[in-house]
Assembly symmetry: C3
Homo-oligomer: 137 residues x 3
């Protein structure tokens, strides 16, 4: 059984958005009981992550960590035509990934109690991001 659908996520610029509910709705629509779910982001300056879902400070700290690791305007970078946050966004995307696979059990995403699925926008300006979900089981 193969099911595929997608949705758009409007972002407000840099920061992470919980997309677990939207993915779960597509898993339910798929009617797959046991299998896997691929979540795929069709962009290279944002990413998807599994992250602690209880304390928002965790995602704030991840932003701070990334801002130190790949600072905007870093003189190391030559790809600067789209602005000082563009190349850092690509770096963050490559380090954290834009495709996730989560198992499906009992018709639901088999996440741990403290795991959430987040779309992480790395550009400073608002974007529309496309997420494609494929469920197989």
């Amino acid at each position: 059984m193969v099911y595929q659908d997608g949705f758009d996520v409007p972002t407000r610029g840099r920061g992470s958005t919980d997309i677990g509910g939207q993915v779960q709705a597509l898993v339910a629509a798929s009617r797959v009981g046991t299998g896997i779910c691929n979540i795929f982001l069709q962009h290279t300056s944002a990413s998807l992550m599994l992250c602690e879902n209880a304390d928002p400070e965790v995602r704030r700290d991840l932003e701070a960590f990334m801002a130190r690791l790949a600072p905007d305007g870093d003189p190391l970078f030559r790809h600067v035509a789209e602005g000082p946050d563009d190349m850092p966004a690509h770096v963050r995307s490559v380090l954290t990934g834009s495709s996730l696979v989560v198992p499906v059990s009992g018709g639901r995403l088999a996440l741990g109690s403290w795991q959430g699925i987040y779309l992480w926008e790395h550009r400073t300006v608002a974007h529309h991001r496309r997420v494609l979900v494929t469920v197989i089981g």
Copy 2:
């Protein structure tokens, strides 16, 4: 054909544990000859990695690298209620990932000669970690 099962990994605190044998046993039980195997860790302060399997110094060096990149007690972090190693553990988990897909060929994981599958505990204290394996083919 879809097969799903899991196992627990007791860790002794920070460090990596070879789980390739346990995953391979489930692949064999699945009776899938050709397909894919998803290995999923239901936690956000540990991760899964494909890593060189011959010289243990490689994993020791990876620990040293991570300890420098995201040091315990880093004043950058605000999420500190669970201790100085908690937020660094989330950072390491996001950077290295908690879901892997490995192809299955001839009823076995199609790893390269030097590839092993490791559960990487990032907290300093011992934990029990849950791994879910789904084989499709």
Copy 3:
């Protein structure tokens, strides 16, 4: 429907190679219309990445970033028998990953307009790298 095949990529040493055409050819051969494609690299000192495909400076900047993050000859590392670039290559591989899942729609990889699939060689010397592709749908 499950299809599996592979190909070799000769690299010229450190740098990234677009393998999207080769993967797409196998997706077409699989005759899968809707599903997922796993691309797997059987090595631990190279990686696979989804990266911006328009401006080669992006990949040049990623090299510069990694060279700063995990420099060759870093005195932190003990696994040095194969040379000063060996352990940095393992670090880069663990941070960027060696297994990708890309959805398949209409018989093609459902990449975004600006997404390319690259094999990223992290060793300074030329290698032959083996890529295994599994398509399920």
